[in-house]
């Protein structure tokens, strides 16, 4: 069930990135795609009726959800923060120098 959500979110994210011309909206689209991939990673580790993967005082005979994917997701969240910060600071400088946020007008590097 969460996989359908992931597919929908990735579809929406691609639609935003491809169709919206405002750069801030494109950064938001990339953020949505990141959240979709994080959701996908955590869903992989889900086991039916599982508990948190902590070994101290763990009840017997119960499955645990996978902890490795949680580490992957944490790493990806941190990478996402760094990337978004860098992208937004670049957009700020472009806005100061070009005066526009429209990707159709940021075309000085063409051909």
């Amino acid at each position: 069930m969460p996989f359908i959500t992931v597919a929908l979110l990735i579809g929406i994210a691609f639609a935003i990135i491809l169709l919206k011309k405002n750069m801030i909206k494109m950064v938001m689209g990339i953020g949505i795609m990141e959240s979709a991939v994080n959701l996908f990673l955590i869903t992989i580790g889900y086991r039916e009726d599982g508990i948190a993967p902590i070994f101290t005082n763990a009840p017997e005979g119960v499955d645990m959800v996978l902890p490795t994917v949680q580490a992957l997701t944490l790493t990806n969240i941190v990478i996402g923060v760094a990337t978004t910060a860098l992208m937004i600071s670049m957009i700020m400088i472009i806005y100061k120098k070009y005066g526009t946020l429209n990707s159709d007008k940021m075309r000085r590097l063409k051909e």
Partner: protein, 112 residues
């Protein structure tokens, strides 16, 4: 030390090239030695001969980089008129090509 590079259908040995170049440079040096060595620099003797006309200023004589290969670019105008607008500079188009690439390669790998 300089051995053969085998390519499976032949071989290439750089030593042959070095020997040929040395002989070629030797000939060039022999021809250069037979030239005129007594002349006055920076006077009438070193100016290019243009049938008696004056030499135009140096900046106009040099062919600029953008004008070379005009013939090639003009001959392939149909191809260039389609390709150059594709490199538009708009970021959204870059990612559209990514999505098109994923779908095309997926269809090719599944079907064929």
């Amino acid at each position: 030390m300089i051995g053969d590079l085998l390519t499976g259908y032949g071989f290439w040995n750089p030593l042959i090239w070095v020997v040929v170049m040395v002989i070629g440079l030797l000939f060039a040096w022999l021809v250069w030695r037979c030239g005129e060595s007594s002349y006055d620099k920076d006077t009438e003797q070193t100016k290019p001969y243009l049938s008696g006309n004056d030499e135009p200023p140096k900046g106009d004589v040099h062919i600029r980089g953008g004008n070379m290969y005009w013939g090639f670019t003009h001959a392939l105008k149909g191809y260039y008129d389609k390709i150059i607008p594709l490199h538009s500079g708009v970021v959204n188009d870059y990612l559209t090509w990514f999505l098109i690439g994923v779908i095309v390669i997926f269809v090719v790998v599944i079907v064929i």
